[in-house]
Symmetry: C2
DNA sequence: TCCATATTTCCAATATTATGGAAATGAAGG
DNA sequence: CCTTCATTTCCATAATATTGGAAATATGGA
């Protein structure tokens, strides 16, 4: 990934409210959540939420689709993976021993499949 | 990791100049680079750089030590790992298939040890 | 002590971002 | 066509971040 889209993603996620929205969408899975439901769940006014959803969307981190009267938002896992890859590349280009903790992190993350205690 | 320090880190990295600094420091390894050398390398005025180093430092992403007249900055790999872990956790809590691309990413990152073609 | 180097701090101007009320748009149903 | 619901857009205000010049601090050496 280039540097500029990575900056946009990081900047989009570097905001308490937006990170909360993104985490919620990631947990929700590909089916996504309606904007109104997000607003109720996180207790934020709908216009602020809309602005933040727009920022996340422009950063490429989330997608949206209309379903009846609602607009459903969902996390873009590919974008997330690319961002993580971008951050990891530099990390491991410097010193090989930096990579090894990531193995453990990934193993733990994988153990957190839905249904497990985590 | 809690949400707040993660937001601080993401926000710190969500800036073109600071991301460039951090990437440079990550690539430089634990020995770090002097502030002046960073400024010359990235062609930024020293006072702006100082402000950005301060933001990265407050976010916990870099450390500094004085060495003679220079101040040497270095990336905090532990902080970086914790941030990646934080992002991965939610990612994998949602759907297990999201984790699998990260395996490939990590394998590729590990292959990029210094000296290899990458 | 005096000077040169390295970096930070101070400060003000500018730009960007965040916030929330109110109005506008779009969709479904009677 | 009218009403209701869901969401966005518009707008103004407030807050925060970015930038760079100039001065201040700290270190090492003559």
């Amino acid at each position: 990934m280039e540097s500029k889209p990575a900056v946009n993603m990081l900047s989009a996620l570097g905001h308490e409210g937006r990170l909360a929205v993104f985490r919620l969408l990631v947990k929700a899975g590909p089916q996504g959540i309606a904007a109104g439901e997000i607003a109720r769940g996180l207790a934020v006014p709908p216009n602020s939420l809309s602005a933040n959803l727009n920022i996340l969307s422009h950063a490429g981190l989330i997608a949206s689709r209309r379903e009846g009267r609602s607009i459903i938002y969902s996390a873009d896992y590919g974008a997330m993976s690319r961002l993580l890859a971008f951050l990891m590349e530099d990390c491991c280009g410097g010193a090989p021993e930096i990579c090894t903790p990531l193995d453990a992190i990934l193993a733990r993350a994988k153990a957190c499949a839905p249904g497990s205690a985590c």
